[in-house]
């Protein structure tokens, strides 16, 4: 095990990692920007080093400063948390070149996943379904044939396109020829390349993801799925496990796909495979996140396995002592991300001094935060300030527990989203589990 570890992050995730290290007897070094002098992770770590001014590119994203801090304090490993440099292949390489273990996959694997197209092709070759589409459209006859195979509705997209231009939605074969010609003309005019491809349009889909944990000895564990469909502008607000709308057969298929994909990449560490789930329960691979995720506690609650500790242990070469059959999901867990944003003013970020803080408590209620009473919340960084996680035998009971916990959560001094989430959890679309990724945008439209 590493004797000392540098936590290259801030906020609640830095606190989460330091806690895991304390339990394992690993010494910790916190890094902080000038705006974070008074942050909790700084006080909680064994040592702390200021790495630069408030803007993240000058501090938390400043690779040389982080490496110097790690080497000067005699660290053996670097934990990047999530965000910042957690999926930066160059940083992973730089750590290894300096004799520091980067807690995550190798730079090579991160790079491979960063290229979404190539990653999709790799998993498709391993037999995992990806969003259906066709790229080999020689002429309009071939394109028509391909379109019928893919099925409607579909999208025609420009091969060299971007920014939403050159995209046509087609609902039936009658409209196809016209839309295809138009799209080709527009593509040529905009991008100088009339090349097009078609992709099935997935509507009313859920965002479902599978947590994996792989050691350096070839063992792969797939944990139960998380439903992260409650999103506002692609930002997740509520996550739960298991997904309320997945049948056991569909779940088995999802786990099998996750396993195939992980083997295709020869993955190491913790990671998350993201899928889109259509109304029929078909899962399509989207991408893989090569890091710890914000919502990892949901999986920890249902599996009883401390993912952060195991992430560090497998990085240290410890073989996983359990097998797939030992990974059992029990009950239901829900997480609400409390953001310092004002829901009444289009979720504008809010900063200020925390005048009063009361954390929710009781059995199977977890509150992950870096807040403390009297803390001055800086505006420079992500607005996530706390995560409330609950666990109960059934989904119904978990929703009740979350409602009670949210009402008990008092954070005064900044605007935050807890009451908004409390409202969401009481809406029929959440209660029956049918919500999809466009739930909040449709809801906003209807307000």
């Amino acid at each position: 095990m590493f004797s000392k570890l540098l936590v290259a992050n801030r906020g609640e995730i830095a606190v989460r990692i330091i806690r895991a290290c304390k339990e394992m007897g690993v010494q910790t070094v916190a890094v902080y920007s000038q705006a974070d002098r008074e942050a909790l992770h700084v006080s909680l770590a064994d040592e702390s080093i200021c790495i630069g001014p408030a803007p993240a590119p000058l501090s938390y994203l400043h690779q040389d400063a982080l490496l110097s801090a790690a080497l000067a304090t005699g660290c053996k490993a670097v934990h990047p948390g999530y965000g910042f440099l957690s999926e930066n292949a160059d940083f992973a390489d730089a750590c290894e070149q300096n004799g520091l273990r980067f807690i995550g996959p190798s730079g090579q694997v991160i790079r491979q996943m960063g290229n979404k197209d190539a990653a999709k092709r790799t998993v498709a070759a391993a037999g995992v379904p990806t969003i259906p589409g066709r790229e080999d459209l020689e002429d309009i006859q071939a394109a028509r044939k391909a379109a019928e195979q893919v099925g409607f509705p579909l999208l025609i997209k420009a091969r060299s396109g971007g920014g939403g231009r050159g995209i046509r939605r087609v609902d039936s074969i009658e409209d196809f020829d016209h839309a295809f010609r138009e799209a080709a003309q527009e593509a040529k005019a905009c991008f100088g390349d009339p090349g097009l491809y078609i992709e099935k349009l997935l509507e009313g889909v859920k965002h479902v993801e599978v947590q994996v944990l792989c050691d350096t000895h070839g063992h792969v564990l797939c944990f139960g799925e998380r439903d992260c469909s409650m999103q506002r502008r692609r930002q997740k607000l509520v996550e739960e496990s298991p997904c309320a709308r997945l049948t056991p057969t569909q779940r088995r298929a999802l786990m099998r796909h996750a396993r195939q994909a992980v083997h295709a990449f020869q993955y190491e560490g913790v990671g998350t495979l993201e899928f889109l789930l259509d109304a029929q329960g078909n899962a399509y691979f989207m991408e893989m996140n090569t890091r710890l995720q914000v919502e990892h506690p949901v999986t920890e609650m249902v599996s009883g396995i401390d993912l952060v500790k195991w992430q560090i242990r497998v990085a240290a070469g410890v073989p996983l002592p359990f097998q797939q059959k030992d990974v059992v999901s029990r009950g239901h867990a829900i997480e609400c991300r409390i953001n310092a944003e004002d829901p009444l003013q289009d979720f504008r970020p809010s900063g200020g001094r925390i005048d009063l803080l009361h954390a929710p408590g009781g059995p199977w209620v977890r509150f992950d935060t870096a807040l403390y009473q009297g803390y001055e919340l800086p505006l420079h960084y992500d607005s996530l300030i706390a995560k409330v996680i609950v666990h109960a035998p059934t989904r119904e009971e978990a929703i009740r527990k979350m409602q009670a916990a949210l009402c008990e959560t008092v954070i005064e001094g900044v605007d935050h989203t807890a009451s908004f989430q409390s409202q969401l959890l009481s809406e029929p679309g959440f209660v029956d589990g049918s919500y999809t990724t466009d739930y909040l945008s449709q809801r906003e439209g209807s307000l």
Partner: protein, 283 residues
């Protein structure tokens, strides 16, 4: 701000394993060649050559003895001979202690008598874990005594050189070891006795400039850095960029400083053959 002192530190030892009842975590090293981590025991089983990229890792003196000499044939000499701190060099005593702990050796060279494929010889091997095999008065004295012993017993000498050079902490006393050992090598040579050296990574400085290059036959391990001043020093002094592979064993072979490259897998057989061919009366 919450004062650091407010949180007490849990008095927990560093965990050494995953869960109760598991085997302890396997110690690993990072390969400088391919940057991958590999278990130490796997590396040791492969003669300290990376199984993925064939990078040669440094071998401790004891691992060399096990690799080259006939089992149980090694008889160590002068094991208690160690360097003191004649110049009262700052921090030197502490460094010696640390080096001893890190390597398990008392000095940067191990000398003795042993057999290779039945051929008896004087044997010395330098220890990378002890200040990277640097040569102080004790190292020079041990090697000198070995050559003198070999001369008395009319034995060939097989030496494994691995050193950053003379030990700065002993100043001029280190440098004069070059002359002293060279004298003993000369006397051994004048008596018609055979000296075989295997140059390991790195063989530089005062060691390269004396007994490493005085052998009758000079072998080198693939990829070993061999030279007087290292490439970084030369680049900084001459302000020129040096060619790829400069001063590596392959480069020195092409320029006539090394007789042959000797991969570890076949090294014992080659060394044994050379000792047999060059030891008077044994053939």
């Amino acid at each position: 701000m919450i004062s650091k002192d407010l949180f007490r530190r849990p008095n927990l030892p560093l965990e050494t394993l995953g869960r109760e009842g598991d085997k302890a975590a396997v110690p690993e090293v990072s390969c400088p060649g391919c940057k991958r981590r590999l278990p130490v025991d796997e590396l040791a089983a492969n003669l300290y050559i990376c199984p993925r990229c064939r990078q040669y890792h440094k071998m401790s003196a004891r691992a060399r003895i096990a690799m080259v000499l006939d089992e149980g044939s090694f008889e160590e000499l002068d094991e208690a001979l160690v360097s003191r701190d004649p110049l009262r060099f700052p921090d030197y005593r502490h460094k010696l202690e640390e080096a001893g702990k890190a390597s398990g050796e008392r000095e940067a060279v191990v000398t003795g008598l042993g057999r290779v494929e039945g051929m008896r010889c004087g044997f010395f091997v330098m220890e990378p874990g002890f200040m990277m095999g640097s040569m102080g008065a004790a190292v020079g004295e041990k090697i000198t005594r070995l050559f003198e012993r070999a001369l008395r017993e009319r034995l060939p000498v097989l030496g494994y050189t691995l050193s950053g050079g003379a030990r700065v902490q002993e100043g001029i006393l280190s440098l004069m070891q070059m002359a002293k050992v060279s004298g003993a090598v000369r006397a051994h040579s004048d008596a018609g006795l055979f000296y075989l050296a295997v140059l390991c990574d790195p063989t530089t400085g005062g060691v390269a400039a004396s007994f490493a290059m005085q052998a009758d036959i000079i072998l080198a391990e693939p990829g070993a850095l061999i030279g007087f001043a290292g490439p970084r020093v030369i680049e900084q002094t001459t302000r020129q960029t040096l060619p790829e592979g400069f001063q590596r064993a392959e480069f020195q072979l092409a320029h006539g400083f090394v007789g042959r490259l000797s991969p570890r897998e076949s090294q014992r057989a080659l060394v044994g053959l050379l000792l047999r061919m060059h030891t008077g009366g044994a053939a």
